[in-house]
């Protein structure tokens, strides 16, 4: 009988008969006798029939071909997901079956590979952020923020968390949704003109009910915040400072830990991971030593075996749900370990100098593009002051319209800020529809930047 659908079950018919005999059943049906008849399904599921491997691939190629991926265009999209170059070695390593097809390392003696890699990842995150303790990863930036808020609430036993509006609007939405029944209530502080956080307003709302202050660096519009000042405000009120950090920026920008952060979270997709329509990315969280026993998720620690040889294990598991159940610091169980491995490989490839180089190249090119765009008639600065690799400009036409117009020329001009209009208020919220968020990675050559400026110029002239 031909095999016309994929099937990963090994048994031949003879195997099935032998095995049924061992379990003293005459049919597979019998094994399901415990399932009451009225909840047994007799008709086949209404799903398309199975396909052979090559047909499945054809079908998935058809679906893939119905997309025009940003990676194939000259893209300036960012706003949380970045098209950085992933070195070729990353996929080779994360594709090795021993990493790819392993579960969480519950048996450390047979899992030293992934355990050591997580230990190394934790170290890398600590080094980048300037913090003492990093966990083995979170789902993404947004959920990491929600967890940070819960952590701050339980640590300070306070009921409010104050967020800069410069924190990614989707992260803020996730925080609101996920902590609806639990953890501190969020309050948002607007941005001032120029897109940096209004620190005076922040200082006004932070008080002794505040569990944490959250700022993002660079913030959603690319503005560089005064993290140290935010730390002062937070700490003066006995609150924690949570910083949402962009790991790629941390070769160039000061480590939040040095500026007073108590918790640093963020999204590290841009290290080693494909954009993949936004997931799976890589949430991370690092904390200062005193918060070590409050951090959610897996932690890997160093220990010794009974001969005194170094090894690595999951540790401080009494924080975790699988041991502590309802007393756990979080419900997170599966995390994004493989994405963390990818990030670690990418960071190892970049190394100490490479990360700084990368940041500098992005910064230079972003600054160049910003300057060129601001020369165009009607284009003005939305983000003011220094930026890292992303900034926003105000256009003389709706940003979404510009994006659409430039697609046929092979450009993805940026992310229209109007998409997030509901998430902003105050001076920075005016006329968001004309604001375009533009990210420049190392993939964008000067030639592309120049061509892009020319294309924008043409549209601006039209408009």
């Amino acid at each position: 009988m031909p095999q016309a659908a994929t099937d990963y079950v090994p048994h031949s018919d003879a195997d099935m008969r032998t095995m049924l005999a061992v379990v003293k059943a005459t049919s597979v049906e019998e094994l399901f006798a415990d399932i009451p008849e009225d909840v047994r399904r007799r008709e086949p599921l209404a799903l398309p029939p199975g396909l052979s491997e090559l047909e499945v691939l054809d079908e998935l190629r058809r679906l893939a071909a119905a997309n025009t991926p940003a990676s194939a265009l000259v893209s300036f999209l960012g706003a949380g997901i970045y098209d950085h170059y992933v070195p070729a070695i990353v996929d080779t390593i994360v594709g090795r079956g021993e990493f790819l097809t392993a579960y969480t390392p519950y048996q450390p003696e047979r899992s030293q590979g992934v355990l050591q890699s997580i230990f190394e990842f934790q170290t890398a995150i600590c080094e980048l952020t300037g913090m003492d303790v990093s966990n083995a990863s979170m789902y993404d930036g947004g959920t990491a923020l929600a967890e940070a808020s819960v952590l701050a609430g339980s640590h300070t036993r306070r009921g409010k968390v104050v967020l800069s509006a410069g924190v990614h609007p989707e992260y803020r939405q996730v925080l609101v949704t996920e902590t609806a029944g639990y953890g501190p209530r969020p309050q948002v502080v607007d941005l001032q003109a120029g897109a940096a956080t209004d620190l005076a307003a922040l200082a006004r709302v932070v008080g002794d009910d505040t569990a944490a202050v959250v700022v993002q660096q660079p913030n959603f519009f690319g503005a560089l915040e005064d993290v140290a000042a935010a730390a002062q405000i937070a700490h003066a009120a006995g609150a924690l400072l949570v910083v949402v950090a962009d790991p790629v920026s941390l070769g160039l920008l000061e480590a939040p830990g040095r500026l007073g952060a108590d918790v640093v979270i963020g999204e590290a997709q841009s290290l080693g991971n494909a954009m993949s329509f936004g997931g799976p990315g890589l949430g991370f969280m690092a904390v200062a030593k005193p918060l070590m026993r409050r951090i959610p998720g897996r932690l890997v620690g160093q220990t010794v075996d009974l001969e005194g040889k170094r090894g690595f294990v999951l540790t401080l598991q009494t924080r975790e749900q699988h041991i502590r159940r309802e007393k756990a610091t979080s419900n997170i169980c599966s995390n994004h370990a493989l994405n963390a491995l990818a990030a670690l490989v990418h960071l190892s490839w970049l190394g100490r100098e490479g990360l700084a180089e990368l940041g500098l190249l992005c910064t230079r090119r972003a600054a160049y593009l910003r300057a060129r765009l601001l020369e165009l008639p009607g284009v003005t600065a939305y983000t003011e002051g220094p930026v890292f690799r992303e900034f926003a400009v105000r256009l003389p036409l709706p940003a979404a319209q510009l994006v659409e117009a430039l697609v046929p020329q092979g450009f993805l001009a940026g992310v229209p800020a109007g998409r997030f209009a509901g998430q902003f208020a105050g001076p920075a919220a005016a006329g968001l529809d004309d604001v375009l968020l533009i990210a420049v990675t190392e993939k964008r050559s000067r030639a592309q930047l120049d061509a892009f400026v020319a294309a924008v110029a043409a549209e601006v002239d039209h408009g």
């Binding site: 090994p10 392993a102 579960y103």
Partner: protein, 501 residues
């Protein structure tokens, strides 16, 4: 220098210990824009004082380091992995091929929807399929894992009650439940109300009635088959009772591998279901993740699903719908672990309804086969058929001074990954065995044979188990020490005393 040992991965230095000043693997385009002084770009005050001490290595060093590490690890590709409740089945490589197609992997979440129609179609289709498999109405693909699906589901339960002006607090959870269930209950703002299991391993109906009588019931979370591997025959009655008490039923789908196409949670009476794609739908677990935990809800609850919801318009176009006033909000940045969802889609598309049914039939047959073969070797507490997994107990070995953990460690020496040992809590010295459908009879026979041998060893020479493992890169590791003096990151020499690398 280390002693003679020829295999790779034996150099156990960390990547930081292998790092060497001035080495590098990276290359980056030359600066092609004006070299503005750095101070004019980013003021010194914002700039980093000390560089992060990332490793400095050549590319071959990086490749060798991680190749070596991988050989110290164990995956489904390495051998049998009967880790109960984790469904460590074969992860088809086809999934990897499809997920890596640039048309998926290269998509930015904020690119115009018109340029991502294939991805949205895939998500829509997968949602429809999962709804059919669950026997419920609408799907969200946002949750990143099972636990995240639980949280989403519980928030929907919360929204449902709030919409009716109620705010009940208690969510019933059997003592067999996975730790994520109670933890999620707390994170959603509820309190767990435990319910006992009966002698057959199912929910104790008497006790359930008692708990329900206590009122303030928001819902119940149940895994069925549960983590003992048994199917709760009273499920219809349980659902009736909970619904009567005003509660909703949440199905922890971690064990769905037992019932695909055979019994649907929706038909059992559940209102919300999550699937762990990294268990049931063959997406690889990657040493801890990423997975995906899509949830499916009944038609009545669809209004509360997180935004955006994947929709298909009249004209056949696919779109992300944000205009859902009753939605609980957003469960995560962007739309879900799309890369993982592509894999799950690939898997279901290939297997089809018959293939999925065969998965469950075989998973259940395999578990029963191993269970029957182990009767008399280990204790098997519940005298009934199991579903896709079963729990054995190493209690009889205690008299030899041997515990489940020792059996587990000795299994390592025989090349079999140990079963789950840390739960379910209600079985003493539990060994939760889930062979999965992709293990062959020979592999199962070998597994049984190894168990037999080890039990024999426990009788004849228990020290062998206490000393195990002896063939691994490390001997038994001191977990207590790790927790007592946590070392959670590399320490650099200069942290202790000043000095260059």
């Amino acid at each position: 220098m280390a002693d003679a040992q020829g295999l790779p991965g034996m150099d156990r230095r960390t990547i930081y210990e292998k790092s060497c000043c001035g080495r590098r693997a990276y290359s980056l385009p030359a600066t092609d824009v004006p070299e503005v002084p750095l101070d004019d770009l980013v003021p010194a005050g914002l700039r980093r004082q000390a560089p992060p001490r990332l490793p400095e290595m050549s590319e071959v060093d990086v490749v060798r380091h991680f190749t070596g590490l991988s050989t110290l690890n164990f995956g489904v590709d390495s051998g049998s992995y009967p880790l109960g409740s984790c469904t460590m089945k074969y992860n088809p490589r086809l999934n990897e091929t499809t997920a890596q197609l640039e048309g998926f992997a290269g998509l930015h979440p904020y690119q115009p929807e018109s340029l991502a129609q294939g991805a949205v179609e895939l998500m829509w289709e997968l949602g429809e399929w999962l709804a059919e498999i669950a026997g419920l109405a609408r799907t969200t693909l946002q949750p990143a894992a099972g636990a995240h699906g639980e949280l989403a589901g519980l928030l929907i339960i919360r929204a449902h009650h709030l919409a009716q002006g109620r705010e009940p607090k208690r969510v019933i959870i059997p003592d067999t439940a996975h730790g994520t269930n109670p933890a999620s209950v707390v994170m959603a703002g509820f309190t767990p109300a435990p319910v006992r299991s009966d002698a057959r391993g199912g929910v104790d109906l008497e006790h359930l009635r008692e708990v329900l009588a206590g009122g303030d019931i928001a819902g119940l979370m149940l895994t069925n088959p549960n983590t003992l591997g048994v199917f709760d025959e009273n499920i219809v009655e349980i659902a009736r009772l909970v619904h009567e008490a005003g509660g909703l039923l949440y199905y922890d789908g971690a064990n769905s591998n037992a019932v695909l196409g055979i019994s649907r949670p929706g038909d059992m009476g559940f209102d919300i279901v999550h699937f762990n794609t990294h268990k049931t739908f063959s997406t690889p677990h990657g040493g801890g993740g990423p997975g995906a935990g899509p949830i499916v809800v009944s038609a009545e609850l669809a209004a509360y699903l997180p935004v955006p919801l994947v929709e298909r318009a009249e004209d056949g176009r696919f779109f992300l719908d944000y205009d859902r006033p009753q939605s609980i909000g957003k469960m995560r940045t962007f739309y879900g672990n799309v890369g993982v969802l592509v894999r799950a889609h690939t898997y279901i598309r290939g297997l089809g309804p018959d293939g999925l049914r065969r998965v469950s039939e075989t998973a259940v047959l395999n578990a029963n086969y191993v269970m029957e073969s182990l009767r008399g070797v280990l204790d098997v507490p519940y005298e009934r058929r199991c579903m896709h997994e079963f729990v054995a107990s190493a209690t009889p070995l205690k008299e030899h001074g041997v515990r489940a953990l020792d059996v587990a460690k000795r299994l390592l020496d025989y090349g079999v990954h140990p079963p789950t040992t840390y739960f379910p809590l209600i079985v003493d010295e539990a060994l939760m065995v889930e062979p999965t459908e992709t293990e062959s009879r020979e592999d199962l026979d070998r597994m049984v044979d190894v168990f037999r041998r080890i039990v024999q060893e426990a009788h004849d020479d228990p020290q062998k188990l206490l000393d195990a493992p002896v063939t691994m890169p490390v001997r038994r590791l001191d977990e207590a020490e790790a927790a007592r003096h946590p070392v959670l990151r590399q320490r650099f020499p200069e942290d202790e005393e000043a000095g260059a690398c």
